[in-house]
Symmetry: C2
Subunit: 150 residues, 2 copies
DNA sequence: CTTGATGCAAAATATTTGCATGCTC
DNA sequence: GAGCATGCAAATATTTTGCATCAAG
């Protein structure tokens, strides 16, 4: 996993390149994603920032705007499941897919080389220029099955 | 692909089994999904029903309620992409995955046996009871690439 | 000092829910 | 007739936008 200073430099580099401004708010959103592993809703990220930096004033709209920016630039990835909105995680991690438990909401990440390769072949078969791909395995995790058995 | 009479019987069977009622609205939603191939939003389905049955009064709330019901029972499948809400298609089709063009929104369905098998293995590896899985290949279709080249 | 960024609140969307009434069974 | 289903509108929930103000470059 890349470290935080690197991510921060990436952010600054991208902002400069696009002639956008580096602001405390943008840094706080990136930091929140970095410090809190997992997949969070914009609302949660907003709360996390308020908790760790009670003095900083960051509006929910800015969180939304920043998350979109980070995602566009690859510094954040999003996933959505069911009716709930998007959840974000820090980007620049190794590509991976997800197992999602419908009982407890747990998300497990995995990587499977065979699947990756086949995806590329499928894209080629349909003459698609693949820019991204996602796979979700939905189901019930072991813990939840055990609990239900009781 | 299964035919409509079969789907209708399935719906009736399921409703009876759950002691729910067979209503004109529920049939209309199923029929709209059957008659209009592709992936539609609840709003679109509502409009399709109004167009084909101008006399029938079907509220948007009922469309939402019915789509959820159909999905739970396997008579409809949903997919969501980006910020937009869910889009539904008729269920009981052969399982398949999707290629989604980010330019024109086109959705192409495909099936790949190797990927299917690997998914099962991944689920087993994490001791997950897989109830469903989805794969989306996001990219730019040939037509859109050609148009952009012009 | 110029221009993009922010916070706030209002607006726009999307979806769900309460409730009186209507329809299946 | 009993109870689920429906339509409608109101309530939620979620995300976006306009605008005056602030701050980075």
């Amino acid at each position: 996993m890349v470290d935080y200073p690197f991510l921060l430099e990436e952010l600054k580099r991208i902002l400069k390149e696009k002639q956008l401004k580096f602001t405390a708010q943008r840094e706080l959103v990136l930091k929140a994603l970095y410090e809190h592993e997992g997949h969070h809703s914009p609302e949660e990220i907003h709360r996390l920032i308020q908790e760790s930096s009670p003095d900083a004033k960051v509006g929910i709209a800015t969180v939304y705007r920043t998350l979109s920016l980070l995602e566009e630039e690859g510094l954040a990835d999003s996933i959505s499941f069911g009716t709930e909105g998007k959840r974000y995680e820090i980007g620049l991690k190794k590509h991976h897919d997800h197992l999602i438990c419908i009982r407890c909401g747990k998300i497990i990440e995995f990587f499977d080389d065979t699947i990756e390769k086949r995806q590329e072949e499928v894209a080629k078969r349909f003459d698609f220029e693949m820019t991204d791909h996602t796979m979700k395995i939905i189901g019930i995790c072991k813990e939840c099955r055990d609990n239900e058995a009781k």
